[in-house]
């Protein structure tokens, strides 16, 4: 199934070639966990700091759960960042 995958800041270069800016459409197995996707795109797990599904944070202990994503969801990831 297809989801929208976004990688920001220093992680942006890890997106697949079809990416426009920080956004790519990717195909995933329906039961893929977040960590499966994080590993597939070689995002170092310690840099997957802010992980959001449709804007809602998923804490790192929940990222191995299967079936959290559904068709059309947006998965967005940032390394540790801050501002003000």
């Amino acid at each position: 199934m297809k989801i929208t995958f976004k990688l920001f800041a220093t992680l942006g270069d890890l997106l697949p070639a079809n990416a426009v800016r920080n956004i790519a459409s990717i195909d995933i197995e329906p039961d893929a966990s977040l960590n499966d996707i994080i590993d597939r795109y070689q995002v170092p797990r310690e840099l997957a700091h802010l992980v959001l599904i449709n804007g809602v944070f998923v804490c790192d202990t929940d990222r191995d759960q299967k079936g959290q994503l559904k068709e059309g969801d947006v998965l967005a990831i940032w390394p540790p960042v801050a501002g003000g």
Partner: protein, 618 residues
């Protein structure tokens, strides 16, 4: 100790300049900078006084670590009563001016009265003189800076100056130092101009050697720097992307206030964020961002130095703006961008340059323009007022034009200089003003981030993110992640952030260090620098004391618990999209618990027990 123990008192009415010793008892109770200068303000002015009258005072103030090698130890603040909010104002700035005050042997400069004609203060170590500013008045900060440098033939002098917006009475005028750093909020520049004081130029050559325990200080400062360097945020994220990395984050979580806070996500966010600033542009292949930059002694270097595309309509005939200068920080980018619906990064950068050039707070300017755009949309403002300009959301032309006329206080720019509250009142729609206590909101929507709503409502200087940056926890997971959509637990979080920030703001340090440092990293640096046995506990206690003192100042100025609120829009109109869709801010659930934790009455008054517990003045 890291105090020079010297204050300069400048009476602008009489022209007298006197030195006096720093009150070290107060330094023990209020640390420095924000806390200590506010203690002086409380002692010296009637909080009910007219903020733009000669009885208000303007204090430029440093902390014990200002001018030291502690990382970010270059900050100074400007404290006075605010004309925008009628509450206490304290605006903090980086750059190099604060450290130069120390090098000239000064902890603080207190300005009182009002000069009969424009003046500026020239300080060269022990020499201090008031000079005529007739040649500077009517000039922008950038022009005035150039003239003063030529007059004093000293390229290394440091200058803090107000621009034409302040001279024209713009209520959110800033004091700009080092060309593009600013004590930005609450109209401290307006107060400076109301005293006919155009600028302060300082050259100090004394250095700073008076640390309590130099060896312990160097070791504590070095340990602090190591923590900053090894932390992913302060070591990598902030230098590379600046605060602007937040644009896409806050949009994704559905808390990016858009078009005068009507909406909570902006379709053009990715065009104006930190990543976009690094993209090569078509015309010359260069990105908006040239390099990052650092304030005095800072090892983080979050500052942005940018250029505008020379082919952009705003500057194509104005080579004077084809320069490298202070670029977009997140707050400015948000107010000039999403809040006005404009996603043209060059237009935003141009407007930001003008805010620096003529000393305007870009947050208040952008938010006020956003309110004006909504007033235009509803028909309350028409082309009759704007002189023909279509003030439409999303118009880059309108943004650039508005920045030009407001910077100079011309035509409709006078109206925009009133700030959002007074503008919306003038045009009969006060409900469209997105302000607390008369000060415009920063870049986080309290419907999508509950705790920040309470922080805005209770901030002692009106809506402000820097008085209790709960975004760190609610969104960024620093020090611990909390759920932004849940109001539970937020009163305690807000109080802890407010107290800690009061202490950091009083030390001479930048609050951005706290993305990596806890009070356990800061206290040893303060303690090694000055007398007073500065433990983490004492720092927190002093922070809480400062918060209560500011609150009591505001009470005497006429503010009450009824002012601890948010615009109706945020309490009754639900977020339209994103994770917060359907939510309003639940301030009513948080405020009573917050008052209780503060030791205040149910209507928000500091109780006599709390007053005594902290030994507050008066």
């Amino acid at each position: 100790m890291a105090w020079t123990k010297k204050i300069l008192r400048v009476n602008l009415t009489s022209g007298s300049i006197t030195e006096e010793p720093l009150n070290m008892e107060w330094a023990n109770d209020y640390l420095g900078q924000r806390g200590l200068a506010t203690r002086y303000l409380v002692d010296e002015i009637d909080p009910a006084t007219d903020a733009l009258g000669p009885d208000n005072k303007l204090i430029m103030t440093t902390g014990p670590l200002t001018g030291t090698v502690a990382s970010t130890g270059g900050r100074y603040s400007v404290v006075c009563k605010s004309p925008l909010t009628n509450a206490v104002a304290c605006s903090n700035s980086g750059g190099f001016f604060g450290a130069e005050m120390k090098f000239a042997g000064l902890d603080m400069i207190i300005f009182e009265g009002k000069a009969s004609s424009p003046m500026y203060l020239n300080i060269e170590d022990d020499k201090a003189e008031l000079l005529s500013a007739d040649a500077l008045w009517g000039k922008s900060v950038w022009e005035a800076d150039k003239i003063m440098r030529t007059t004093h033939s000293d390229p290394q002098a440091r200058i803090a100056c107000v621009g034409r917006s302040a001279e024209e009475g713009n209520l959110y005028a800033a004091i700009v130092n080092d060309l593009h750093r600013a004590a930005g909020r609450s109209g401290v520049g307006t107060v400076m101009a109301s005293k006919n004081l155009k600028a302060v130029i300082i050259r100090g050559t004394k250095g700073l050697g008076n640390l309590r325990d130099p060896k312990a200080f160097l070791s504590a400062a070095n340990a602090g720097k190591k923590v900053l360097a090894e932390n992913a945020v302060t070591g990598q994220g902030l230098p590379a992307y600046g605060t602007q990395v937040l644009m896409n984050v806050i949009n994704e979580v559905g808390a990016l206030p858009t078009r005068n806070m009507k909406e909570t996500q902006f379709e053009g966010a990715s065009n104006v964020g930190g990543e976009a600033m690094l993209e090569p542009r078509k015309s010359d292949g260069k990105p908006n961002l040239t390099t990052n930059g650092a304030c005095f002694s800072c090892t983080i270097a979050c500052g942005r130095i940018s250029t505008i595309d020379r082919t952009h309509f705003s500057v194509k005939d104005k080579p004077e703006y084809w320069i490298n200068s202070g670029g977009l920080e997140y707050e400015a980018a948000w107010a000039l961008g999403p809040d006005t619906g404009v996603d043209d990064i060059d237009a935003l950068t141009y407007a930001n340059f003008l805010c620096n050039e003529d000393g305007m707070d870009p947050i208040s300017f952008g938010s006020t323009l956003a309110a004006a755009m909504e007033l235009y949309e509803t028909g309350a403002i028409t082309k009759d007022q704007t002189g023909g300009m279509e003030l439409k959301f999303g118009s880059a032309e309108a943004l650039c034009w508005a920045a030009e006329v407001t910077a100079k206080g011309e035509g409709f720019g006078k109206d925009l200089g009133l700030g959002s509250k007074r503008l919306c009142e003038k045009y009969g729609k006060p409900e469209l003003s997105m302000t607390v206590k008369g000060q415009e909101f920063p870049a986080y929507d309290p419907r999508g981030i509950q705790g920040i709503g309470l922080a805005y409502a209770t901030s002692n200087r009106g809506a402000c993110h820097l008085r209790g940056y709960t975004i760190a926890s609610e969104i960024l997971g620093i020090p611990e992640k909390t759920d932004p959509l849940d109001a539970a637990g937020k009163p305690g979080l807000v109080k802890a952030f407010q107290d800690a920030t009061s202490a950091v703001d009083s030390a001479g340090l930048c609050v951005f260090t706290t993305f990596a440092w806890t009070m356990d990293d800061i206290a040893p640096q303060v303690d090694a620098a000055c007398d007073g046995n500065w433990t983490t506990e004492k720092m927190m206690e002093v922070g809480e004391r400062i918060w209560n003192m500011e609150r009591e100042f505001n009470s005497k100025a006429g503010l009450t618990g009824a002012d601890d609120t948010l615009p109706k829009r945020l309490l009754t109109e639900a977020a339209n999209a994103g994770p917060a869709q359907g939510k309003v801010n639940e301030l009513d659930k948080m405020l009573p618990e917050y008052y209780q934790l503060r030791g205040w009455t149910a209507d928000g008054t500091v109780t006599s027990e709390t007053h005594q517990k902290f030994g507050l003045p008066g």
